[in-house]
């Protein structure tokens, strides 16, 4: 090919510098026309990052409580005296991924502060027989005093859930005085400890815990658990869940109900997500309006720069090179808006999260998606103006005298 007519390819740095001339020389206009995109992107980033921050806070909460805690109940109404088989706890502990297991059993007895209160009024509190490892499996702690010790003293001991303690009017267990006593059925028990609140098992908060053997001897409890709590490796939680009913109650697995207490905490997430769909819609509208703004600026820019285009054609620019210059400018404008919008969105999320005591989470995908979206908008907005620019006659530089 003859070198005289060999088409010239512009290098990428040249294209980028050509595409930003308009931005560099008309700064105010560039800022104003990028504003629409910035608003759209900022909204987009914020509406994805804020729920994400909320969710992270929730996940942190769950991680602290343990998303690997499973609870097994007898499916029936607890009023009917349906206990799980006595050996079920041992059976569960033999499931491979299970790391710890414990159980409580409702003794269906009434607890009273003293013999002066009505024997039928249990203050809505349950008296539960508790295995000694309850605290470990629930990963709970003592608020006051200590947990049930196996070596029973002269008087059998109990531990109170946090709600039970306040209903019974025992705010704490004194360490230097004899323990307060409460009446269960017809026997007196010494209160040796109060549990901290256990958010994943609120029924424990509302109960009075008696040792397993003590319940059998003093309360006529039959040794059949009513609720089993267990922790399993998180990755295996679903498979453990699936085999539990048959393990716990091989004869009647359908009477067994297995729940993941952390599920309840997820419920509020759904409401937040419907909330954010609305805002994503708004962000899309803002982005669309921003794109129209950029397209409009570009059309005006092409009209104003007719003589520059003519000059470039006279200097040897071909149509493709004019087109890429204006297309790049449009994309650069959008990218400017996208970059500013991302910064604003991240800052807004940070302010919101810090004000609400949440961790600041900005999903990389949302940022990448928003910036990608801005670039796509820039390309779309630039197509028509750049085609118009490329179609101008080279003679316009001569004509506009």
């Amino acid at each position: 090919m003859n070198d005289d007519v060999k088409p010239v390819r512009l290098a990428l740095p040249d294209v980028l510098s050509l595409g930003t001339i308009g931005l560099r020389t008309r700064r105010m206009r560039a800022v104003l026309s990028a504003l629409g995109i910035a608003v759209g992107i900022a909204t987009m980033v914020a509406v994805t990052a804020i729920p994400e921050s909320n969710e992270r806070a929730l996940m942190n909460e769950l991680a602290a409580l343990g998303p690997n805690l499973l609870q097994v109940n007898a499916a029936d109404n607890p009023e009917q005296d349906f206990g799980l088989p006595a050996e079920s706890v041992d059976m569960v502990s033999r499931i491979g991924p299970v790391t710890s297991v414990t159980a409580v059993a409702n003794t269906h007895t009434v607890v009273r502060r003293s013999d002066l209160t009505d024997p039928r009024d249990g203050s809505g509190l349950a008296v539960l027989a508790s295995r000694p490892d309850l605290l470990e499996t629930l990963e709970s702690t003592m608020y006051s005093g200590h947990f049930l010790d196996r070596a029973g003293g002269a008087v059998p001991t109990v531990v109170l859930g946090s709600v039970a303690a306040s209903r019974l009017g025992i705010p704490s267990v004194p360490s230097d005085a004899p323990p307060p006593q409460i009446l269960i059925g017809k026997s007196w028990f010494a209160v040796v400890g109060i549990l901290a609140t256990t958010p994943l098992s609120p029924e424990i908060d509302r109960s009075v815990l008696v040792g397993w053997e003590a319940a059998q001897t003093s309360l006529g409890f039959d040794g059949r658990p009513t609720v089993i709590y267990l922790r399993a490796r998180e990755s295996a939680i679903e498979s453990v869940r699936a085999v539990l009913p048959a393990t716990v109650h091989p004869q009647e697995p359908s009477r067994v109900r297995v729940t993941l207490p952390s599920d309840a905490l997820f419920a509020k997430r759904a409401t937040e997500q419907t909330f954010s769909v609305l805002f994503v819609g708004l962000a899309m509208v803002a982005l669309l309006v921003g794109g129209i703004g950029v397209a409009n600026t570009m059309v005006i820019s092409v009209l104003e720069r007719r003589s520059e285009i003519g000059l470039r054609r006279a200097l040897g620019a071909n149509r493709g090179q004019i087109r890429i210059q204006f297309l790049t400018e449009s994309v650069a404008l959008s990218a400017l808006g996208g970059g500013a919008g991302t910064a604003i969105g991240v800052a807004g999320t940070a302010v919101y999260a810090i004000a609400n005591d949440l961790p600041v989470v900005v999903p990389a995908l949302a940022v990448a998606g928003s910036l990608g979206g801005a670039l796509v908008v820039g390309v779309i907005a630039g197509v028509y103006p750049s085609i118009r620019a490329a179609r101008l006659q080279p003679t316009v530089a001569l004509a506009s005298a």
């Binding site: 005289d4 010239v8 000059l311 006279a314 080279p394 530089a397």
Partner: protein, 228 residues
């Protein structure tokens, strides 16, 4: 003599029955300095844009550096234009916001000169037009005459085979116009081939060759003695 440009029987008709050029033929050889004169509306600018391949004639042929312009695609014709031609316009057409040297560098961009070589060449071209001390000035910091000299530097920076100028002194006062004209004479003396349009009969009279256009036709094409 090397033929740089050859226009054969070129006509240009505009819609609405305007005949801006009527079967014009013109040859330009390397080293010539040609004045194109004629009254307003006679077709000078039309002729220049056809010579400069900015426009294609309705009929007739244009040959630039041995290439039939009509046979070239936009990409190839643009490349040819960028490498072989330089343009100077009445309205300097400098890009605001770009310094003198950046404006001149634009003249190398589309000719495929690598980025790292452009600045040195642009500075040299500015020095050639006597603006070595105005390299980083922005267009609004330059006088009209200086702007036109920047535009001339941009036109010559790639050593074009033919420099085309459409009333380069039209927007300048007499003194600045004279300085710009002297510059064209000097470039010609240094070997440039130049065709320039002018209204000014005195200017035209000083140039070695004078082409007179009227009503889209060349009415005279005289090579006279240079009176300087």
């Amino acid at each position: 003599m090397t033929r740089v440009l050859s226009v054969r029987d070129a006509s240009k008709h505009y819609p609405g029955g305007v005949t801006a050029l009527d079967r014009v033929s013109l040859d330009i050889d390397a080293g010539e300095l040609v004045a194109i004169v004629g009254p307003s509306g006679s077709g000078k600018s039309t002729l220049l844009s056809i010579m400069g391949t900015l426009d294609r004639p309705t009929s007739g042929t244009v040959e630039l550096a041995g290439h039939d312009v009509a046979a070239l695609s936009d990409r190839r014709l643009s490349a040819l234009r960028g490498r072989w031609l330089g343009f100077v316009f009445q309205q300097f057409h400098l890009t605001d916001g770009l310094s003198a040297v950046e404006n001149v560098s634009t003249g190398l961009l589309y000719a495929g000169v690598p980025r790292r070589e452009r600045r040195a060449k642009a500075v040299a071209a500015l020095e050639r037009v006597g603006l070595g001390h105005r390299i980083t000035h922005l267009p609004h910091q330059l006088s009209g005459g200086e702007k036109q000299r920047v535009a001339i530097a941009r036109a010559i920076v790639n050593e074009p085979a033919l420099l085309l100028a459409d009333e380069p002194t039209g927007a300048l006062d007499t003194a600045n116009g004279r300085a710009v004209l002297d510059l064209f004479h000097r470039l010609h003396a240094e070997g440039s081939t130049i065709a320039l349009i002018t209204h000014d009969r005195d200017i035209a009279a000083q140039l070695p060759r004078k082409v007179e256009v009227r009503d889209g036709k060349i009415v005279s094409d005289r090579t006279g003695v240079q009176v300087r």
